[in-house]
Amino acid sequence: MIFTGKVWKFGDNIDTDAIIPARYLNTSDPVQLAAHCMEDADPDFVKKMKSGDIILGGENFGCGSSREHAPIAIKASGISCVVAKSFARIFYRNAFNMGLPIFESKELADAIAEGKEITIDSTRGIITVEGSDQQFAISPIPPFMEQLIADGGLMKHIAKK
């Protein structure tokens, strides 16, 4: 798959309370959750971002709670995918299970500024930056996880089995 979009940068240890504060967890409606996406990290985020944009995080993105509302809020906001130096493990699992594309790159976050447009070619495992010759490799995804994505998430994978 190919994703092209403008990046919004966030730092290390972006926790699930920052992605979707617990005060909004009295619903699991994707549209309502999306309205508060990243609110406690950047209150204006949903006003500024456009559909197809990309979140670029640092280390340990999505740490904290197991709430699947976090990847749901991101996906429903229109963000196409998340790139980070590393992901917290429950967030990583949840993203694959519910179908939010996520990619690991140790270098990208430090190499580019917010607002840059990038293209992620998940098949070739390469990220390119608009107006630059720079290329960044995506950390490979385990074959099992690739299968999960190909099947359309965990529940569809199970149904197939």
């Binding site: 240890n13 926790d15 309370d17 920052a18 504060p21 617990a22 005060r23 967890l25 009295n26 619903t27 699991s28 609110e39 406690d40 990290a41 209150p43 280390e59 340990n60 740490c63 904290g64 709670s65 197991s66 709430r67 699947e68 509302h69 749901i72 590393s86 917290a88 493990r89 429950i90 699992r93 949840n94 299970n97 519910m98 385990p142 099992f144 998430g153 965990l154 529940m155 569809k156 199970i158 149904a159």
Partner: protein, 419 residues
């Protein structure tokens, strides 16, 4: 080459005769847990996948503990969804109303989770049950849906970090201080994807309540699970509660660890995690003059009877400082009743405390103790992220019940030694 306790439990549940870190396995689940926030999504996924019946009605636990007593109409709707699902499937371990407690205090107390179990929960603090010598890990709602449907789930076998703790813990130092100190040392991703195995002479004598507090916070270092080898203390805790067989596992002497970290508990003082990460830890002597607006004693980390006894010991014949809202949350109805019978509630009331029903509400900024802009709370909970307990510009300081009680009396972050 030997195996760790974590590997052995996973191996047994995957039906394998060997296993190694990094391997992807499919394993049988003994208990699958959800709450009023995470279960509704799992139920939606379960139904969307055509689920007709849960794999085993005795092995699913549904606990309405987060936004309960129902805080608003939306929360009430979520609870209703779970309640109806529990009735439809005849879920044995369904808890609400006057029977509900904070899930990670309730499940061990009721003997629902046992040593040697493989437990998954759609709640990150599911790792608490590692205190009993179970493999327990937090997952998302879709994982819970899959486990409720099939009784199995996929796992990546984690490597293990071994913590060897020695020395006698000084007065006022508890399991909470030990785990805060460890998270301060290794960071919030210091054990990312790994198991944290707690061993050493200090651990051998550590009471179950302290072990539960420690395992509870393994996730705050990014760990998949925290685990203690079961022993005589485990047996004493589990035996009167268990209604099915359980098994003690132990790591082999030649088990492989990614890291071994030694800690001298004799040198510790009470610890405080400053905003906004659980790893931002200082010794109480370095805390400085931090005035507080609220002191919260409770949660799945520190809402057990042992925690309430420590707090009551400090609060007896004292009062919360004027301007400090002291909130005490007995974690389960059983603990609530114990506290009543032991006279602890009388002490809390005399100290001007608010006694909350068992609920996760205040810890995660849901209800029953929200902070306004600029306010500070000391809390015996497990997270102090931005906005965790209320306004994005409020602050949470994590500490033990002893420090939270002393701070309530003095109106600032303080050691019990100062009283």
């Amino acid at each position: 080459m030997g195996n760790t306790i974590t590997e052995k439990i996973l191996m047994a549940h995957a039906g394998l005769s060997e296993i190694s870190a990094g391997q992807l396995i499919n394993a049988r689940v003994d208990i699958a847990l959800g709450n009023d926030i995470t279960a509704p999504i799992a139920i939606r996924e379960f139904r969307a996948a055509g689920g007709q019946k849960v794999f085993d009605r005795d092995k699913v636990a549904l606990v309405l503990d987060h936004f309960t007593p129902n805080k608003d109409i939306s929360s009430a709707q979520q609870c209703k969804t779970v309640r109806e699902f529990a009735a439809e499937h005849g879920i044995t371990h369904f808890y609400e109303g006057g029977q509900v407690g904070v899930e990670h205090a309730l499940l061990p107390e009721q003997g629902i989770v046992l040593p040697g179990d493989l437990v998954i929960g759609a709640d990150s603090h599911t790792c608490t049950y590692g205190a009993l010598g179970a493999f327990a890990t937090g997952v998302g709602s879709t994982d819970l849906a899959a486990a409720m449907l099939t009784g199995e789930l996929w796992f990546k076998v984690p490597s293990s970090i071994k913590f060897v703790v020695y020395g006698k813990m000084p007065k006022w130092v508890s399991g909470k201080d030990l785990i805060l100190n460890i998270i301060g040392r290794i960071g919030v991703d210091g054990a990312l994807y790994q198991a944290m195995e707690f061993t050493g002479e200090t651990i051998l004598n550590l009471p179950m309540a302290d072990r539960l507090s420690m395992a509870n916070m393994a996730i705050e270092a990014g760990a998949k699970n925290g685990i203690f080898a079961p022993d005589a203390i485990t047996e004493e805790y589990v035996k009167p509660r268990a209604r099915r067989p359980y098994k003690f596992y132990a790591s082999d002497a030649d088990a492989v660890y990614s890291q071994v970290i030694e800690i001298d508990a004799g040198k510790l003082e009470p610890q405080v995690a400053f905003p906004h990460l659980p790893s931002n830890v200082k010794g109480i002597s370095q805390a400085g003059n931090v005035k507080i607006d609220q002191s919260l004693i409770g949660s799945c980390t520190n809402g057990r009877i042992e925690d309430l006894r420590i707090a009551a010991g400090i609060l007896k014949n004292r009062k919360a400082s004027s301007g400090v809202r002291l909130i005490v949350v007995p974690a389960t109805p059983f603990i609530y009743r114990q506290a009543l019978q032991e006279g602890l509630l009388e002490i809390f009331l005399n100290a001007d405390a608010v006694i909350s029903p068992p609920s996760c509400g205040a810890c995660l900024g849901g209800h029953l103790g929200i902070l306004a802009e600029g306010e500070r709370s000391i809390a015996t909970t497990n997270r102090n992220f931005v906005g965790r307990m209320g306004h994005p510009k409020s602050e949470v300081y994590l500490a033990s019940p002893a420090v939270a009680a002393a701070s309530a009396v003095l109106g600032r972050i303080a050691s019990p030694e100062e009283l």
